[in-house]
Each structure stands twice: as structure tokens, then as C-alpha cells.
Amino acid sequence: MQPVIETQELCKVYGQRRAVDGVELHVPEGCVYGFIGPNGAGKSTTMKMLLGLVHPTAGRVCLLGQPMTERNRLALLRQTGSLIESPSGYPHLTGEENLQVVADLKGVPRKDIDRVLEIVDLAGDRRRKVGQYSLGMRQRLGIAMALLGSPRLLILDEPTNGLDPAGIQEMRDLLVHMPERTGATVFVSSHLLGEMEQMAEQVGIIDHGKMLFEGPLQALQRHSRGNYRLRVLQPQKAVPALQARGVPARLEKGALTLPPLPDAALAAAVQAVADAGAGVVELTAHTKSLEEIFLSLTQTREVK
């Protein structure tokens, strides 16, 4: 399938600093793509280059199957909705007036405003001034602006930034259903891996301007698999049982720590511990933090 976003050797240099360094993105159509990296990794700069807001030092951007040029930029933007460094908007105008401004700029009929207000659940607050909106409402207004005109591609920069847990949950629900609901491909950035695990099918990881990983979420989760913590009633019975199976176990704070294991091996190990009469109480999987995954990804790269 033709990728909706494709970049080749995309670079942006500010003075001596390579903010974006040879980034290659491949975003398939109809998915939610999570673009993950710590703050300052080059996510916003990359997204601005996709929209032509920032001019690349080197490299190419292809949107919707066409290389972006000065000539076709407006035609491509017409099919793209974006929210960069949110939230935008004019605080002295109402939510509806803000959408009218954007609808006029995009050349979209005003009646589309009702549709997007419904999608982001702001229809009840359309006549309130945006200055009185909460941060979550302003973020949703930003999404509504991006959705005007039913674009084929949505580029959203940290749409959950600054939201409370309930707001994050709402935003996640909104985005995860976007492809089936509107047919749009969603390219969304975040500095939290955990957040992306619940909405993205494809992920790209960027750090210090370089791509560390790109692919399906499951492939990444292999990297993120951490140790297991096994709590038993009688650890002294469990340790020999595990050692007999060749599973190295450490006793820490009253519980055993097991290394990452394939599912079948893990099940067999737990069975052995139970058979030894240790009394299995709790098994928890420890997921690596984004920093730890970065570390493991950079290490694998060096090994390659």
C-alpha cells in the first residue's frame, strides 16, 4: 500500500545542532501512527517540515503519494489537518467563531462545523468564548479545527499534552476510532510510550533527531518486555525449583525477580514453582520505561 507520509533522509540543522538527522518515516494509510520521543527529540520540527512550516536542510517529504513542492503544497495541505504545538485559537472569539475562521481559510462549507463539533463533543459549548475553555476543551477545539473538511491525513503534535487523566482518556478514545470513523490516517506524537501503546498500531521512535525504531507496535513491545516479579509464600522452596529449570532468579524484597522469558517457558516455570509447594500468590510483568527501551534500542543498533 502507498504510504500516506514518506520522508527520505530528512534533515534540519540549526547552527551546529542537528535537530532532525536523516529521518525516514513510512506511515501506512488508515492507521494510527505514534511518533514517540522525549521532549526536544525533533518531533515538532519533523512535523513542521511535513507541513512545510519549516524548510528542511536536506531530504524529501512525500505526502499522500506525492513529493511535496512549493507548487503542490497548497493542494496537499487541503487534504491535511494539523494541530502543532497546541492549543491554537483566538480566545476573544467563541468556539464556533474560531471554527468559522478556519473553515473560511480552508474553503470548507460552514455546515461542516456542526459535524466536527459533534465529533469532539463541544456542541454544547460552541457559543462560549474560547478564553473560558479549559485546556482539554481547547485541545479538542484544535482537533475539531484539524478535522474540518474531512482531511485524509491528520498530523497532531502532542494532543494530550497538559490534559488531566480523564482528558487523556477522552482524547485517546477520540483518536483511536478516527480511522474507522472518518477514514483519516492519524500521525500523532507523544513523549509517553504508555499512552501510544493504547492507541497506535504503528510506531516510530525518535531521539536526538534520529529514528531508533519504526514498525508495528508488537515489534516494539518485544523490546519493551522487562523482568517478571513472582511473589510466593515460601521463596526458599521456589528458588531451587527455578534453578533446576535453568531459570536464574533473584530474591528481592520478599519476591523473586525473573528475567524476560517466552510465554511457554514462563508458564512452565510458574508451574514448577507451584508444584514445589512454594504457594504462588502474584505474577506481575514489569514494562520497561521509554528510557530503558531507548537504551535497549541504541544498544541493539550498536551490536548490529
Partner: protein
């Protein structure tokens, strides 16, 4: 495309605080001008023409550049605040169309301001100065010329406010430009400086026609300045990275 941008810009003016200034500055200017006229009846003997000089002296010198400066600064402030630069430049419109829309919106505001200034001039002339008859038609022409010369100031102030994120600095530069314009106009090189074009157009502070026989040069200078500022705006908007 331009019309879409223009409609969007007009929408942004809704419920905006600049309307207070829109009424306030011309009224101050008219009160001051009428007061000055009534205090100096001994020297100011050209009736409607004299009242015109007093009304437009401070308007063209201080209030007009400040007012245009504020209009321009306000329109760009809307984009500087929040992250609206990203919003407008990621819209499928040519950047110059965005600039032109702001230019026409300020032009519209200035036209309304000029009409208000004229209305106040007539009102003050009849009600306070008790002048006979109606003001000469020529004063309306001065007003129109002021707009032709003044539109260069609009383009320049929009350019300044686009580049300078501060609200006050471009307005202050406009004020300084107005004073410098007066110096240029009094040295006879008014056509070479945009702020002075407005003042010679308005025939501020002079009873005789400042532009007699110079219309060609005046119109040409106004058009050239406008073309220069639009070209600069286009270059800056397309070549520079957006920093929101």
C-alpha cells in the same frame, strides 16, 4: 483565496477591543483641534480650511500612525499569541493572501476612521466654531489622498508587526515615523518617506494645496512603496521558518 482570508480576518475583529481606540483617538484629535482653532482665531482666518489644518495636524502627525500601528499590531498579535502562526500557515492559502487580507482589513478600518474624522470635523465646525455654510469639497479630496498615502503606512506597520512580536515596539516606531515624516515633508522630500506621504496627502497643517501639480509623483511613490512592502512580506513569509 483572498476573499476567504479576508472573511477570516474580518471574523477575528468581532468583539475585539480595538473598536474602543477606533472611536477614542479621532475624538481626542477633534477636541484638541477645535480647542486649538478657537484659541487662535486671530491667526487662523481661513475658516473651514483653518479648522481642517488644526484637526488634521495632530491626527496625521501622531494619531494616524499610532492608530494604524495599533490596528496592525493587534491583527498580528492574534497570530503571535497561542500558536496561531502554525494554524494560519498550515491552511491551504498562499501566505501573501494572508498578508493582503490583513492589509485590506486595516484599510477598511482606516477608511472608517477617516470618515469618522471627517464627520467630527464637520460637527465641530458647525457646533463649536459656528462656521458658515459647509466645508469645501476639497477637504474630502484631502481625505481620500490621505488614504492613498496612508496605505503605505498600513503595509509598513503590518510588516513591522509581523516581524516584531512585541505590541508596543512597532506602534512606537510608527509614532517615530510620523515625526520623521513631518521633518521630511517640511524639507520637501515627503514623497520619499511613507509616513510623510500620508501627511502631504491629508494636507495637514497647510492651507495651500501641498500636492498641486505633483499628483503623478504622489501616486507613483505610494504604489512603489506598497509594491516594495508586499514583496518583502512575501519573501519573509515563504523563506523563513515558522516560529510559533
Amino acid at each position: 483565496m483572498f476573499l476567504r482570508c479576508f472573511r477570516a480576518e474580518n471574523r477575528k475583529l468581532h468583539a475585539s477591543p480595538i473598536w474602543i481606540l477606533f472611536f477614542l483617538l479621532p475624538v481626542i484629535s477633534a477636541v484638541y483641534g477645535t480647542f486649538n482653532y478657537l484659541q487662535n482665531l486671530g491667526i487662523l482666518q481661513d475658516q473651514w480650511y483653518s479648522l481642517w489644518t488644526q484637526h488634521t495636524l495632530f491626527y496625521a502627525l501622531f494619531f494616524y500612525p499610532v492608530l494604524v500601528g495599533v490596528y496592525a499590531a493587534y491583527l498580528w498579535r492574534l497570530e503571535h499569541r497561542g500558536h496561531n502562526w502554525n494554524l494560519i500557515l498550515a491552511a491551504p492559502v498562499r501566505p501573501l493572501a494572508l498578508f493582503l487580507a490583513k492589509y485590506v482589513v486595516v484599510l477598511k478600518l482606516v477608511l472608517l476612521t477617516q470618515l469618522l474624522v471627517f464627520g467630527l470635523y464637520v460637527l465641530c465646525g458647525k457646533a463649536f466654531a459656528h462656521l458658515p455654510g459647509w466645508p469645501p469639497v476639497q477637504t474630502l479630496l484631502f481625505l481620500l489622498r490621505g488614504l492613498v498615502g496612508g496605505q503605505c503606512v498600513i503595509a509598513l506597520q503590518l510588516l513591522l508587526s509581523m516581524l516584531i512580536r512585541s505590541f508596543a515596539v512597532p506602534v512606537f516606531l510608527g509614532l517615530a515615523g510620523g515625526v520623521a515624516g513631518m521633518l521630511c515633508a517640511s524639507k520637501g522630500i515627503g514623497l520619499a518617506f511613507p509616513y510623510a506621504l500620508m501627511q502631504v496627502g491629508m494636507n495637514a497643517n497647510k492651507s495651500e494645496d501641498l500636492l498641486a501639480g505633483q499628483y503623478g509623483g504622489f501616486l507613483l511613490a505610494s504604489a512603489l512603496w506598497l509594491a516594495l512592502f508586499l514583496a518583502l512580506a512575501h519573501l519573509l513569509l515563504t523563506r523563513r521558518d515558522v516560529r510559533a
